[in-house]
């Protein structure tokens, strides 16, 4: 029992450790109701009603899965929630729909060509649901023991004891498995199945034998019989894999050499064709189902003309996913050419897209977003501090105001206050410059910086480049 208690303590600690707070970690969906109408504040989403409504329509299109190769462009100023809408869409689609997120600059890799990177991204966004025989472990949890290596960080080792009415076995677990066990909150007395190949855990319920352990079990607690016979069984399970994963499995002919190369590099087009043929065969026989997903390309203006023309062609394929791009540029040069075009995207591709604009937030919406971020970053803020912060956000930028939340809360903690006051916000506002004030500062003291002898020349140079 002592080890069990230890596992519980570990659980609490590791959850606070794993979940780091990202820029969009407060987004839990698109914040739409059942008829796809946007709610004012919901699932971390605030304002931007038209764009969210549009995203709702796109969501419906993806869910139906009939239309291949549509492109959507989210266009708007910096900090107007383009990435947030894409993340919300991913959340709303759920874990079964493939959602690949990439930045436009990611394709400029030395390992593979641009078109290969794009092809891989496209194939990562198409799922195949297929029935496959797999090794399933099914049993009642007797004990979960998690040990962490001395020193707190790094490698974890875990042991899981499972039983059926006929047998009992100990399993060794690696850190990935431990994390997912803790995430599922698996404890002694639960009846679970584990897919040995994928590590997917499924909680079937609690064992009848444990029905009297606690008085206060939740109403949704389901009681099941402890399984019989062998712990490990072969069963048909439905897997969702992406086309890219199938490509990788079939392209690895060099066996253990893959160990040294690490990643997969480029995949031959013959293999892709072969797999397309096979998948079409499976679909005809009813063995597999295709799930078209979403490819999200952030900072799409970073793509160059080759990528755009490749995308033009790729979108026409039957197996293309829905491509969502986001950009914060206005009329600008298309990368790789000297032509200028709206959003830095060629007109022929723009013509194939539906464009969803996002607009700057109003003051009330900014306040609401800051409030949500305060909650997300675990920071108590007084109402006047929040008002000041909202003013900062309207005058400078939303991103800068969000930066001030945690910094202000650290300042407040240093004077042992439980709540962030107006003074704390003012203090960090004076400590950290925003982009505008920094520019002002530079203009004022330009002469004193390094390499500034020909001060008068610099602006002219800039104009020439432009």
């Amino acid at each position: 029992m002592a080890s069990l208690a230890a596992a519980q303590v570990q659980e609490v600690r590791s959850i606070t450790r794993i979940e780091r707070i990202g820029a969009h970690s407060h987004i839990r969906g698109l914040g739409l109701d059942d008829s796809l109408e946007p709610r004012a504040v919901s699932q971390g989403m605030v304002g931007q009603k038209m764009a969210r409504k549009a995203a709702g329509v796109i969501l419906q299109m993806i869910r139906e899965g009939k239309i291949a190769g549509r492109a959507v462009l989210l266009a708007g100023q910096p900090g107007t929630g383009k990435t947030a809408i894409a993340m919300g869409l991913a959340q709303a689609l759920g874990p079964d729909t493939p959602f690949t997120s990439m930045a436009g600059s990611e394709i400029f890799s030395l390992e593979m060509s641009k078109t290969e990177a794009l092809t891989q991204a496209i194939r990562k966004s198409i799922g195949i649901r297929i029935k496959e025989e797999s090794e399933i472990i099914e049993g009642e949890v007797v004990e979960v023991v998690v040990e962490r290596a001395a020193g707190g960080g790094g490698a974890k080792a875990g042991r899981l004891t499972l039983k059926t009415t006929d047998m009992e076995t100990n399993y060794d677990m690696g850190s990935k498995m431990i994390d997912s066990l803790l995430k599922e909150k698996v404890q002694a007395g639960d009846v679970i199945t584990i897919d040995k190949a994928t590590g997917k855990i499924n909680k079937l319920g609690r064992s009848f034998a444990r029905a009297r352990d606690y008085d206060a079990t939740g109403q949704q607690a389901r009681f099941v019989q402890c399984p019989e016979g062998e712990l490990q069984k072969r069963k048909e399970v439905v897997h969702t894999v992406t086309l890219h994963e199938v490509d990788v499995i079939n392209s690895r002919t060099h066996g253990f050499l893959a160990l040294f190369s690490g990643d997969t590099g480029e995949i031959k087009s013959e293999i892709r064709e072969q797999i397309n043929g096979k998948v079409a065969e499976w679909r005809e026989e009813g063995k597999a189902e295709m799930i078209p997903g979403v490819l999200f390309i952030d900072e799409a203006h970073m793509l160059d003309i080759e990528c755009f023309s490749f995308l033009n062609r790729a979108l026409e394929s039957e197996t293309a996913p829905v491509v969502i791009m986001a950009t914060n540029r206005g009329i600008t040069r298309i990368r790789g050419t000297n032509y200028r075009s709206p959003h830095g995207i060629p007109l022929d591709l723009l013509d194939r897209m539906i464009i969803v604009p996002t607009e700057p937030y109003h003051q009330a919406e900014l306040k609401e977003i800051l409030n949500i971020r305060c909650e997300e970053e675990d920071c108590q803020m007084s109402s006047e501090a929040l008002t000041v912060l909202t003013r900062v956000a309207t005058e400078t930028s939303l991103r800068y105001a969000i930066q001030l939340i945690t910094t202000a809360s650290l300042v407040a903690k240093r004077r042992k206050a439980t709540e962030v006051s107006m003074e704390d916000v003012k203090k960090v506002y004076s400590l950290f410059l925003d982009e505008h004030r920094s520019e002002q500062f530079l203009k004022e003291y330009q002469d004193e910086f390094m390499f500034n002898d020909g001060a008068g020349d610099a602006p002219q140079m800039m104009e020439v480049v432009q």
Partner: protein, 240 residues
């Protein structure tokens, strides 16, 4: 009339004769049939039809089979004792890829390349593990890491599921042992053929090979002599 009766008599005689003959023929045939019963099994036909290649190494002989349904199997024989040391099947996933060897008889092949993709849950090192190792007269299973005394185990033949079931009275271990050798010849599992033994934390289960299986193995070993071993054997990676 006389002629007629004679004719009838003759025909009657011949009928009698042929009936007796047929009976004897049938008996011999059925005897022969039961003798070579395995020849009618799909398994034996598959073996005959498969594409075989052979390697000889000192006293072991390795045979690689390629079946019509794209399956691959490897057998390893000891030439002195004529005993099958190892039999392994290549198991391919539905999604394709290289596939892995799954060992039916002999010591398991450990995966030397650490695999990051498979989920990291495995039986602990101290948990029971089943291996197969056949002798000339017995099919044998060895279950290592079973520390319980011999009276804990009950081993029974299950005719419905065509397997041997190992149970323990302390409910610590349970296993259904498949017997592919018998299944391939459509033979039933007999409780009388099972015996078992326990020492050094290992439970050894022995199943006496039925006559049919013995005959088949003997004949198949002779048959394999027809497969010419590959002369220019590729150099083994001695550096590893």
């Amino acid at each position: 009339m006389k002629r007629k009766s004679k004719l009838i008599k003759m025909s009657g005689e011949s009928e009698d004769n042929s009936f007796e003959k047929r009976l004897r023929d049938n008996f011999v045939k059925s005897y022969k049939h039961s003798d070579k019963m395995y020849k009618n099994t799909t398994w034996y036909k598959c073996l005959i039809d498969s594409e075989k290649s052979c390697l000889k190494e000192d006293i072991t002989k390795k045979i690689h089979y390629k079946f019509d349904n794209d399956k691959e199997m490897v057998e390893e024989y000891n030439l002195e004792t004529c005993v099958l040391l190892r039999r392994a099947w290549k198991v391919k996933g539905k999604l394709g890829g290289e596939g892995k060897w799954s060992v039916e008889i002999g010591d398991p092949i450990y995966d030397t390349t650490p695999n990051n993709e498979t989920a990291d849950i495995v039986e602990s090192k101290d948990q029971p593990i089943v291996t197969r190792r056949n002798t000339r007269t017995n099919l044998e299973w060895r279950i290592r890491n079973l520390p319980y005394p011999i009276n804990t185990y009950s081993i029974s033949a299950n005719k419905d599921e065509k397997c041997i079931i190992v149970r323990t009275t302390n409910k610590k271990y349970f296993k259904k042992l498949q017997i592919p050798e018998l299944e391939r010849l459509n033979l039933l599992v007999e409780q009388a053929n099972i015996s078992f033994n326990h020492q050094f934390q290992t439970l050894i289960i022995m199943y006496k090979k039925p006559q049919d299986l013995l005959d088949m193995e003997k004949e198949w070993f002779e048959e394999l002599k027809k497969v010419k071993p590959i002369k220019d054997m590729p150099d083994d990676c001695k550096t590893q």
